[in-house]
């Protein structure tokens, strides 16, 4: 079948095809700004030729399909790149916050508070009887403790915020996976008819969004549906089914088909979840642990020196000192219980009502009538000390007595109405471990504070020491303050912690490091970490930019190109129209020839 009618039919098809082409071009132009849109192309094909008079005549054009220009390899690489970028840029933000906390580049920070604290001890040693110096020291001590506590609180706050983000993130992931499952269904349905181009674009967009949250991988089935799972193999969406995640006790869990919740926290390494979990489980705990370690060492070393000294006066008549650390079982369970030397001794001095005529009682932890070790209870300690007071100074039995607090977990030392007391030469560290005659209370960054007994009477800050040979307390004695001022130069033994996901924290012993050097190392490690996160982010950004460019050069819309296409279709349309009018003229000629 050929001839003019066939020409008309060819022209009609051509008109229609050019219109469809224009349609697709229009769709592309309209979606030039649509995210994840891949440009579409009509695939034109010559129709089956028809035999006529021994010849095969072409029968015109048809649209075989409309395809989208996508390179799966580039898309997959891009998704991986975006996962890492999302992870590093989220981490950069978090590290920025952490860095801001340790704002050591300004003058108001922990390092400066340390310097101020030591300087206050220097000043007190220059004027041990000065009340102003004592007030300043209390203030500096409080600021230092506050500095520690503020940092600890802020870090807890960051952890809390991360946990909230995890919760919100899981909700978003569940929403995305259920959308994916729904799209899978629609795509499978539509692709029975043709290419579900726009739905696929939409699915890519959702996959990309999902990959910003966590590390995922996916593969496509023959029917067009995909399976998405985490990198470690937990299926999130499989064709039309989606599997939920949840956050329970700050753990991310995956709901298997049998309804059991499997914890997957430690398998998430990339995307925002990777960043949040790295921050929460590795970086923050390390900083917190190191900060606690620093606070702990500071408290211990300062208290150890403070317990050797005496204030301007002894503890006054009627005073009751309650130990700041508690244990309801054995002494070894005190916060610093493991640091007590149970073979040591300390001296308890008992003065008259005016704080004069001091008499010493040497408290020996190895006392024959009641030796104390780490398994002793507070009651045993009480009995041993009371027995030693009564044994060495029968006349003073009961003048100063030790008891166990009503709560049963603290030691109390109290003087009666006509006696005073003080301490010296503690080689056992027991006083520091109990928290009696100490400068700080608390045992880590969060609970650190200045001993309230000193706050209510700054005169009790132990700047001096009881003269062991004369039993005198001299107002101008700054021996203990001098020892304290030396602490800033002395190396102390501490630990440095490191954390890893899914493993128990480990620590390295650090010896002979001054407290401030420890802080400097901590601050510097935060800076280094932040720097490396920034560099990783810059690198990932570069990679993602390059891949995006590659992807865009394949899939994105170029208006110039579409304009050219438009002209092409326009001209082809005009030509087809011309074909019709020419065929029409030819038919006219035939009709008029009759």
């Amino acid at each position: 079948m050929s001839g003019l009618v066939s020409v008309l039919s060819i022209a009609k098809d051509a008109l229609a095809v050019q219109q469809y082409g224009m349609d697709v071009t229009g769709h592309n132009v309209a979606n030039v700004s649509t995210e994840e849109y891949s440009r579409q192309r009509p695939v034109l094909e010559a129709k089956q030729p028809a035999p006529y008079q021994g010849l095969l005549f072409g029968t015109g054009v048809k649209i075989d399909q409309i395809t989208r220009n996508v390179d799966r390899f580039v898309e997959a690489r891009l998704m991986d790149g975006k996962m890492e970028l999302a992870s590093s840029s989220e981490k950069e933000i978090q590290m920025g916050v952490l860095e801001g906390l340790f704002n050591e580049t300004s003058d108001q920070n922990l390092a400066a508070q340390f310097s101020d604290f030591w300087n206050a001890w220097h000043d007190l040693s220059n004027n041990p009887s000065g009340l102003a110096e004592r007030d300043v020291l209390l203030e500096r001590g409080s600021l230092l403790a506050q500095g520690f506590e503020d940092l600890a609180t802020e870090m807890t706050q960051i952890t809390r915020e991360i946990n909230l983000s995890l919760q919100a993130g899981v909700d978003r992931i569940n929403e995305l996976t259920s959308q994916l499952a729904a799209l899978n269904g629609e795509i499978v349905q539509q692709e029975a008819l043709g290419n579900a181009n726009d739905l696929r674009d939409q699915r890519t967009k959702i996959l990309n969004q999902l990959s910003e949250y966590m590390d995922i991988k996916s593969f496509e089935h023959d029917d067009g549906g995909i399976t998405v799972m985490t990198k470690s193999g937990f299926v999130l969406a499989d064709k039309v089914h989606s599997y939920r995640l949840t956050v329970e006790d700050n753990e991310v869990k995956w709901e298997g088909s049998s309804g059991t919740w499997v914890p997957i926290t430690d398998t998430l390494r990339q995307g925002k979840f990777g960043a949040w979990l790295d921050m929460r489980d590795v970086i923050l705990p390390k900083v917190q642990a190191d900060l606690d370690e620093l606070a702990k060492s500071t408290i211990w070393e300062v208290n150890k020196i403070h317990t050797q000294g005496v204030g301007l006066t002894l503890y006054p008549p009627g005073q009751t000192l309650t130990s700041s650390y508690s244990t309801s079982t054995r002494l070894g369970d005190l916060s610093f219980g493991e640091r007590v030397d149970f073979s040591g001794t300390f001296k308890l001095w008992i003065g008259d009502g005016n704080g004069a005529n001091l008499q010493e009682v040497t408290i020996d932890l190895d006392f024959a009538g009641g030796a104390i070790d780490e398994n002793s209870t507070l009651a045993e300690l009480r009995d041993s000390i009371n027995a030693q007071i009564a044994g060495q100074r029968p006349a003073l039995a009961g003048a100063v007595s030790v008891s166990v607090s009503a709560s049963g977990n603290r030691i109390e030392i109290s003087a009666d109405a006509s006696h005073t007391f003080g301490f010296s030469q503690d080689s056992s560290n027991l006083l520091a471990a109990l928290g009696i005659n100490t400068f700080f209370t608390g045992s880590n960054a969060t609970g650190m504070d200045v001993n309230p007994t000193l706050r209510s009477d700054p005169g009790l800050i132990a700047a001096g020491r009881i003269d062991a040979s004369t039993g005198e307390v001299a107002a101008g004695d700054g021996a203990n303050a001098l020892a304290m001022a030396d602490l800033q130069y002395l190396g102390v033994s501490t630990k440095r912690w490191s954390f890893e996901r899914g493993a128990a924290p480990t620590s390295v012993d650090i010896t002979e490091t001054p407290l401030e050097s420890y802080l400097q190392a901590l601050v510097s490690s935060i800076g280094l970490q932040s720097q490396s996160v920034q560099r990783a982010k810059e690198y990932n950004e570069l990679i993602v930019n390059q891949l995006t460019e590659a992807r865009d050069s394949i899939s994105a819309v170029s208006l110039d190109e579409e304009m050219t296409e438009m002209i092409k279709y326009q001209h082809a349309y005009s030509a087809a129209a011309k074909l019709i009018s020419t065929a029409d003229e030819m038919l006219q000629a035939l009709i008029e020839a009759k």
Partner: protein
């Protein structure tokens, strides 16, 4: 390569972002004056900065300590130099008064002078810096030297020889100070049967024969005073004498040290303390020092001056001459302390100079690490600004190009 509108747009945005953030960073360097604005800007440099900052703060503190120390040492030095001057005067007086040409009237007149010296030195021994006494060891809140001048007291015997000679006991109930001088008339052991004379003015002498073996009141000597002429088996020469001083309730007989033995220190560096206060006993002598038993300790300056007063009052030229050596000893002691103090001041000044050098060096190093070179930073900003302007200009041109305009 296809360049699509999206990639054109995105590359323009990312380039502009990169250039403008570099410009903001360059601007921050200039406006803060610091190269390091966040920990991550230079974590390694920051450790040095933190270290230098804490060292600098420590140096400032040590300088304050040194200033405190110096004020103590200088106050001590001037008080002791002044004491030295007064002692020199006392010595000159002593030389003058030991001359045999002078009589009791001149010596009595000199008593007032010596008393003046004593009070001046006492005031100097109680020198304060910022309300704290510098010669009392660490007992800085109480005056280290106190005149014990309240009420009647135990009579004090001054004598030569061993301590086994007579003692005075009981309470003197005299209403004014009086010095009884006892002398032996005969050589031999003092005790039962020996004959002694006593006098209050060195002119009129009254005889007394001790019963010996216990405390006894001497007839004519005022109430409350008991003298023990116990025979300790030692012999005296004829004319050997001792004095018993009974104190007027209003007149001092002793200066007691209230301080302690540990001198006040300041910290001049890592585990380095320097004693800037003094144990007053080391300068002015031990409490209750007995001149007759020099091995017992350190002669007491106040005691020496009081003895001198009594000797002058008694017109005892020979004792006055002997006191001269005691004064010389005191002068030696004080000169030694003054020169030691001077050496310490010098040490502190050397340390101060070292600290200043260190401070300069540390400040320079710190500044080198964290402060920006303004000229360099401005040039940097300028170049970033230029780059920004250029990319704005080129971007705006490229963005406007489209085929649509030509169709």
């Amino acid at each position: 390569m296809r360049v699509t509108n999206k990639s054109l747009h995105e590359s323009i945005v990312s380039q502009l972002n990169a250039v403008s953030s570099a410009m903001v960073a360059a601007n921050q360097v200039i406006s803060s004056g610091k190269k390091i604005n966040r920990l991550s800007d230079d974590p390694v440099g920051l450790v040095s900065v933190l270290n230098l900052r804490s060292s600098l703060s420590n140096i400032d503190q040590l300088e304050r300590n040194l200033a405190t120390g110096k004020s103590w040492l200088e106050a001590g030095e001037s008080a002791l130099s002044e004491t030295e001057n007064i002692l020199s005067e006392a010595r000159a007086l002593c030389v003058q008064m030991s001359s045999a040409n002078l009589g009791s009237a001149e010596r009595s007149n000199a008593v007032e002078l010596v008393d003046g010296y004593l009070r001046q030195i006492l005031a100097l021994a109680n020198t304060e810096v910022g309300g704290r006494y510098i010669f009392g060891g660490t007992k800085t809140d109480v005056a280290p030297f106190v005149l014990n001048d309240t009420g009647v007291g135990t009579p004090v015997v001054t004598q030569w020889g061993s301590e086994n000679h007579p003692r005075a006991e009981g309470l003197s109930t005299e209403t004014s100070s009086v010095v009884y001088t006892f002398r032996t008339q005969t050589a031999g052991p003092i005790g039962a049967g020996a004959v002694v004379e006593w006098s209050t003015d060195g002119i009129t002498w009254t005889q007394h024969t001790p019963a010996g073996g216990g405390s006894e009141a001497v007839t004519g000597v005022s109430n409350g005073l008991l003298i023990d002429f116990g025979n300790q088996g030692e012999s005296l020469g004829a004319g050997d004498s001792f004095t018993v001083t009974c104190r007027d309730p209003s007149e001092e007989v002793e200066v007691l040290y209230q301080g302690n033995a540990s001198p006040f220190c300041v910290k001049m560096g890592k585990t380095m303390n320097v004693e800037v206060g003094r144990n007053g006993e080391e300068i002015f002598g031990d409490d209750g020092f007995d001149w007759n038993d020099p091995s017992a300790g350190h002669d007491n300056l106040f005691k020496t001056l009081m003895d001198l007063k009594n000797q002058l009052r008694l017109n005892d030229a020979e004792s006055v001459r002997e006191t001269l050596t005691r004064l010389d000893d005191h002068l030696d002691t004080i000169q030694a302390v003054v020169s030691d103090t001077g050496a310490k001041v010098l040490r502190l000044e050397t340390k101060e100079a070292i600290l200043q050098d260190l401070k300069l060096g540390y400040t320079e190093r710190k500044s080198g690490i964290e402060d920006c070179d303004i000229a360099e930073a401005v040039m940097n900003l300028k170049s970033k600004e230029l780059a920004y302007q250029a990319s704005l200009a080129s971007s705006s041109r490229v963005m406007q190009l489209t085929l649509v305009d030509y169709l």
